[in-house]
Amino acid sequence: MMIADHIREFILSELIQDKSITNLSNDESLIESGIIDSLGIQKLLTFIEDRISIQISDEDIIPENFETIEAIVSFIKSKMPRSTEIRQ
């Protein structure tokens, strides 16, 4: 499973309250649509830090890094050592 799929699965199951939404494209805005709000960002950060051994500092928590699934993946990759794996 790719990082994007893990993130998508988490967002669909934990952050989206409207359960009729079953898919999200990589470039769909998560902030404008209200999917990632102040509580959502906290849950997402906990998920990322739990699954991938990366340290996220408060300077990293900017809307540009979490605007879309694509942006989240590229942010995670920029913080990951090459050997890091995603825990299931």
Partner: protein
């Protein structure tokens, strides 16, 4: 003095009852906690769109009449006590209302206002100096049950637009660097971050 003690009593009681003792300790005992003072130029605000999750909400200015006439009520007793205390101190506030219930609020003081509000003690330790037409915003609160629906963003953005309508030019405030929800709302609204300040606290004893 008595209203202050009463307000503090209800605050401690309700935080422990609804959020838990651990959260109460986290807020009242800390060492080297980092605060991020911020400023917002009101000439560059982001649009005031209402997300669909906020469609049933209204924002209104809190005053003595609203609190007394019983049309709106606070979900939490300590917030009601705080509202009275802040109004008596010359501060101004806005509440976010769901039906007839005030589920969140945000406050500001205008050191140069006609009502001569107290100089807020935060200004000293944060190193903020308000000029004319500049205000300090503080103590934004949202009921725990209402968090996570973009309400905080909506309340803060509405609040800033309202201050602009009142011809204020700049707003100051702060959030804790470890308070991710607050940090997120401020960064979404694009507040400018100023030099960070470290703070220590042991219950009611604060050292900055």
């Amino acid at each position: 003095m008595f209203p202050y003690i009463k307000m503090r009593y209800f605050h401690v009681y309700e935080v422990i009852k609804y959020v838990g003792f651990h959260s109460f300790l986290k807020e009242t005992v800390y060492l080297n906690r980092e605060a991020i003072p911020v400023e917002k130029d009101l000439s560059c605000l982001i649009g005031l769109s209402k997300h669909k999750s906020c469609s049933t909400l209204e924002v209104l200015e809190i005053n003595h009449e609203i609190l007394r006439n019983g049309h709106y009520h606070y979900r939490f007793h300590n917030r009601r006590q705080k509202a009275y205390y802040y109004l008596r101190s010359g501060f101004h506030g806005f509440g976010i209302v769901d039906g007839r219930e005030i589920v969140g609020d945000i406050w500001y003081c205008d050191p140069f206002g006609a009502d001569k509000s107290f100089v807020h003690p935060d200004l000293l330790w944060l190193g903020i100096e308000c000029q004319k037409k500049q205000v300090y915003s503080f103590d934004m609160f949202l009921a725990p049950q209402k968090r996570g629906h973009n309400y905080a963003f909506y309340l803060q953005n509405y609040f800033l637009h309202h201050l602009k309508e009142r011809n204020f030019s700049k707003v100051y405030g702060y959030f804790w660097a470890d308070n991710i929800p607050a940090l997120w709302v401020h960064r979404q609204i694009k507040w400018k971050e100023l030099r960070r300040v470290r703070s220590h606290r042991f219950f009611f004893l604060k050292i900055h």
